[in-house]
C-alpha cells in the first residue's frame, strides 16, 4: 500500500489521512488514543443527538461514495423515535475502478472509522452496525476485528458504552468479489445473505426500507470518518474548508498516466484539474501530452484534453454569468464536474496521455461492466455484454461506420431503464467516449 506517500504535497490538507499517511503510525488502540482518539465520541455523548445531526447538516458534508448526496439530509430521513430498529451499514466495497482511498483507512486507521460510526449510531439511535468490505482486502478483516475487540475491551463498544447507557455492536462483513455490492441496495441484499440484486427505489430507499426492511443509513467509509472531524473542528470551520454546499476535505485518487499517482486529500474545491495533474501528481510522462481524463471513477463521463466548458458562475455584482472554462482550469469539485456534464463520483481520476487508444480503453471498461452486471435487468444484462462484444470485435476486425452508432444506441437503451444506477454507470463510458472522440470510433483498419 505504497501510493499514499508520507509527506503531503503542500496543497494537501490531511484530516482523514493525517494518521494513515505516517509510516510509523500503528493501527492499535493505544496509538489511536495517544493521537487524540475517541475524544469526539466522548464529546458526542455530551451533546443531544439532534445537535449532532444539525452539525452534520451545517457542515455541508456530502457523501464520498459516489452520489455526493448531503449526509445531513440523508440522516434527517431517520426518525430516532419511530420505535423501529435502525441500522448503519458502512460501505467499504470500494469497487468503482479508479478508487483507492478507503483501503488506507480500513488497513491503517481502523479506529478512526469506528469512532465515526459510534458518533453516527448515537446520533441516529442505532444499536447494530455493519462494515461491508470487499474480500479482496485480505487483511482488513483481521485488522478491523482486532480494532473492534480493542474498543469492546475499553467499553467503547458493547453494552453501556462510555458508561452512557447506550448499547452498540459493530461487525465486519466481507463481500465476495462483486462490484454491484457497492450499490447500496445490493449491499443490503448481500448482507441479508441473498443474491445481491439491487432493490427498486421507490419504495426501497434504505432510509425507509433498508436492512431487514428497517430504516438504514448506508454511508461510505470516508464519509463516516468525516463525522468525527466535524465534531472536532465544529461545523463552521469544517464547512469553510470547502465550497458553498460542499464542505471539508475530500480524497482524490489519481491513477493512469501521471508521474506520481496516488490518493491526495485536498480541501474541497481547492485545486483545478490542471493543478492536480501537473503540480500535485508531477505531470505526465516525459514527452507526452494529455488526451483524456475520467474524473470520478470509471463510470463518470470522460473529458477531452482541449475541451472548453460553459460554466455558470456568479460575477462580483451577484449576476450569474456563463464563464468559459478550459478543462485544466476547471475546479475539481462536484458542482463544476456536474456543470461539465460529468461527475465527481467516487473521485477516482484516471488520466490518459496521447499514447492511448480510446477504443481500446473503452473496450477495457466495457469488459468490466459486462463481467459485473448482476443480470437482474434485461437491458443491462444483454446490452452491456453486447457492447463489450462489439468493441472487442471492432479492435480485432476493424471498425465499420455503423459500429459506433450501434454502440451508442445500445448504451442509450440501457441508461434509465434499469433498477439501479449500474445501467447509467455502464452506459456513460460508451456514450461519452464516442461523443468526445468520434474520430477514434469511425471506420478504421484493424490494428494489432
Amino acid at each position: 500500500m505504497s501510493s499514499l506517500i508520507e509527506h503531503p504535497h503542500p496543497k494537501e490538507r490531511r484530516i482523514i489521512f493525517e494518521n494513515a499517511g505516517k509510516s510509523d503510525y500503528t493501527p492499535d488502540i493505544e496509538n489511536y488514543l495517544a493521537h487524540g482518539g475517541y475524544e469526539e465520541a466522548k464529546k458526542a455523548f455530551t451533546m443531544t443527538p439532534e445537535a449532532i445531526v444539525n452539525e452534520v447538516k451545517a457542515s455541508n458534508l456530502r457523501g464520498r461514495g459516489g452520489a455526493a448526496f448531503p449526509t445531513g439530509v440523508k440522516w434527517g430521513f431517520i426518525r430516532r423515535d419511530d420505535g423501529k430498529p435502525h441500522y448503519l451499514c458502512v460501505n467499504g466495497d470500494e469497487s468503482e475502478p479508479g478508487t483507492f482511498k478507503d483501503r488506507y483507512i480500513l488497513h491503517r486507521d481502523p479506529h478512526q472509522l469506528l469512532e465515526g460510526m459510534i458518533i453516527t449510531c448515537y446520533a441516529l439511535n442505532i444499536h447494530l452496525a455493519y462494515i461491508y468490505v470487499r474480500c479482496e482486502y485480505t487483511h482488513a478483516k483481521e485488522i478491523m476485528e482486532k480494532a473492534i475487540q480493542e474498543a469492546r475491551d475499553r467499553g467503547f463498544l458493547g453494552k453501556n458504552i462510555f458508561g452512557m447507557g447506550f448499547d452498540l455492536d459493530i461487525y465486519f462483513h466481507e463481500g465476495a468479489g462483486a462490484y454491484i455490492c457497492g450499490e447500496e441496495t445490493s449491499l443490503l441484499e448481500s448482507l441479508e445473505g441473498k443474491r445481491p440484486y439491487p432493490r427498486i427505489k421507490p419504495p426501497y430507499f434504505p432510509a425507509v426500507l433498508g436492512l431487514y426492511m428497517a430504516p438504514t443509513i448506508v454511508n461510505n467509509v470516508e464519509t463516516i470518518c468525516h463525522v468525527k472531524h466535524i465534531l472536532r473542528l465544529g461545523s463552521a470551520e469544517y464547512a469553510a474548508m470547502g465550497t458553498a454546499g460542499d464542505g471539508g476535505t475530500r480524497v482524490l485518487c489519481v491513477s493512469g498516466d501521471v508521474m506520481k499517482p496516488g490518493p491526495y486529500e485536498l480541501a474541497v474545491g481547492s485545486v483545478t484539474l490542471g493543478e492536480l495533474i501537473f503540480d500535485i501528481c508531477g505531470g505526465l510522462r516525459p514527452g507526452r501530452s494529455l488526451k483524456a481524463i475520467i474524473p470520478g471513477g470509471s463510470s463518470s463521463k470522460v473529458l477531452r484534453a482541449n475541451e472548453i466548458f460553459k460554466i455558470k458562475s456568479k460575477a462580483d455584482d451577484g449576476t450569474v454569468i456563463d464563464k468559459e472554462v478550459p478543462l485544466l482550469d476547471m475546479v475539481m469539485d462536484a458542482a463544476n464536474l456536474a456543470a461539465a456534464g460529468s461527475m465527481i463520483g467516487s473521485a477516482g481520476v484516471i488520466v490518459m496521455d496521447d499514447s492511448r487508444n480510446m477504443l481500446w480503453a473503452l473496450n477495457n471498461l466495457n469488459q468490466f461492466y459486462a463481467h459485473e452486471s448482476c443480470g437482474q435487468c434485461t437491458p443491462c444484462r444483454e446490452g452491456v455484454l453486447w457492447m463489450s462484444k462489439l468493441s472487442t470485435r471492432m479492435i480485432a476486425e476493424g471498425t465499420q461506420e455503423s459500429d459506433s452508432i450501434s454502440l451508442h444506441n445500445i448504451a442509450d437503451h440501457i441508461a434509465g431503464r434499469t433498477v439501479c444506477a449500474f445501467g447509467e454507470a455502464a452506459s456513460w463510458p460508451t456514450q461519452s467516449f464516442i461523443d468526445k472522440f468520434p474520430e477514434e470510433f469511425g471506420a478504421q483498419i484493424a490494428h494489432q
Partner: protein
C-alpha cells in the same frame, strides 16, 4: 522522487488461503465429513454476528469453508444450507454469483492479476500473460466456477477486476498478499519463490 522506481512486495505472516492443501487433493471423504472442531467454532461464532437473521451468515460461512478446504463442494453447500435453515439452492446461487467462490480445487498459489483500466494502462495484460506462460496455463481459459490451474496444480492464475490499488498499478494478489507495481521480473521471482 519517482515512486515507480520503488517496488514493494508486502510481506505478511500469512501463508495464503489454504490451511491444508495436501488434504484438499486425494481425499475420498466429502468436505462435510472432514469438518474440524476449529472450523465449527468459527462457524458458530460468525452466526452470532447476525442476531436479526441467520441467513446473513451465508457469505461468512462460505468464506470460512473455502478458506478451510480451498473450494466448496456439494456437501459444503448442503451443510451450510442446513446450518442456516435454507434450501441448498439459496447457497449454491451465491457461489455461482460471486466471483470469489469456487467449486473446484485451485492451485497451491493463487495469483489474481488486476485487469481493469488503470492496471491495463500500466501493462497488466503482459503481466497476466507471463504468469500464464510460465505456469503452463492457457491465458484465454475462464475457469467456469473453478479457476484456471497449472497442470502441476502448483498455480492458479486469473484476471480479476479492479483491486482498488490503481495508484500503484499494475497490481496482483498472490494468495493473500498484494503486490504493487508488478514488473515482468517480479513475475519470475513470484513463480520461483512459490514453485
Amino acid at each position: 522522487m519517482d515512486q515507480r522506481a520503488h517496488n514493494t512486495i508486502e510481506q505478511t505472516s500469512s501463508h495464503g488461503e489454504l490451511l491444508s492443501h495436501d488434504d484438499v487433493l486425494g481425499s475420498t471423504l466429502s468436505q462435510a465429513e472432514r469438518i474440524t472442531s476449529g472450523l465449527l467454532d468459527k462457524v458458530e461464532e460468525a452466526i452470532t454476528h447476525y442476531p436479526v437473521s441467520k441467513r446473513s451468515a451465508a457469505l461468512p460461512l462460505l468464506h470460512l469453508w473455502q478458506n478451510h478446504f480451498g473450494f466448496i463442494d456439494e456437501s459444503g453447500v448442503e451443510w451450510i444450507a442446513a446450518k442456516l435453515d435454507l434450501n441448498s439452492i439459496s447457497i449454491l446461487e451465491l457461489i455461482t454469483f460471486y466471483p470469489w467462490f469456487r467449486q473446484k480445487a485451485p492451485g497451491k498459489t493463487i495469483i489474481r492479476v488486476c485487469r481493469t483500466l488503470s492496471c491495463a494502462l500500466a501493462g497488466s495484460y503482459e503481466i497476466h500473460e507471463k504468469f500464464c506462460k510460465s505456469t503452463g496455463i492457457d491465458p484465454t481459459c475462464e475457469g467456469h466456477h473453478g479457476i484456471p490451474t497449472s497442470p502441476d496444480a502448483k498455480f492458479s492464475v486469473e484476471f480479476v477486476e479492479c483491486l482498488a490499488s490503481c495508484g500503484s498499478a499494475p497490481v496482483c494478489l498472490v494468495n493473500k498478499d498484494l503486490v504493487e507495481r508488478v514488473s515482468l521480473q517480479d513475475v519470475e521471482d513470484i513463480i520461483k519463490k512459490n514453485s
